[in-house]
Amino acid sequence: MPTSNASTFVVVPTYNEAAALRQTLLPLVYEGYSVVVIDDCSADNTLDTIQDLSLHYLRHPINLGQGAALQTGMRYALLQGAEYVVHFDADGQHDHREIQTLLAPVKVGEADIALGSRFQRANDVEAVPVLRRALLKVATIVNGVTTGLWLTDAHNGFRAMNRRALAAIQITENRMAHATEILSLIRQHRLRYREVPVHIIYTDYSKQKGQSALNAFNILIDLILKKLLL
């Protein structure tokens, strides 16, 4: 199995996640994925904690945001000849055992991009804190209206794609609005997409790191401004 996973590049943007990053990366490296860590100019000892792992390490000389880090990782993967690319959160929210589940529709050629969803299985939904559930519902509506893609989940950072999607998706939203921008690009390039149920692990750590309601408001403003100005 490990050898066949090498053409799958798992892109992990990270910013001051030294506390959780190593634990997140270990199984990915062990399973033979090509792991690409994009250190978005962390101020902690990120590199020290992963120095001994076999992976690709990229570091932005200044902090640009998660969207920019993903795009840097995707460009790198494209240049390295990646067959598949997976977006994976650094804070341990995503389950590495679900990578293959997510990739399945892409690998069999039914979709160019698979998007993880927390809202397709009852026990996944229950794992989402109540307030966040409500917030995400609103976000799915905002996404639907602005991009024309009506999904069950929003801002789920767990995605898997083939080279066609990799080449088409060029993220220009440096910060959090990239999640919605990706949906716009899927629509624009007529990529075949599929939602796949995934389980998100909410730990105190990841909850604290996650997005606040205030952030959702900022994302909305970003998107509106983008629509108006570009």
């Binding site: 076999s54 992976l55 100005l229």
Partner: protein, 110 residues
Amino acid sequence: MTPIKILLALPLLALVLLFLTRLQNQTFYRLSLIVVALAGVALVLFPELSTQIAVAVGVGRGVDLVIYIGGVVFFIGMVVFYSKIRRIERTQTEIIRNMTLNQAKPLNQA
């Protein structure tokens, strides 16, 4: 000619001069700046003009008209600057990304 008129009109003219020399190849900005500044000078020198225009367009007082227009111009300026900043940000991102890709290092690759 009261002192206040000179005090307000001269900086406006100086501003025009500054922008004309600094902003190159941007005819639209230059023209709009000249128009706005000349209108400003005219209003400073002939304050009753603003009242006449105000009454003509349906605003009670000349001062109110100036404030309204000032608000609109300020907002347009904000939007122009916002889009400029976005463009600069985009260029910066591209430069940083290329630097990052050039310096990428595989750790312990087999």
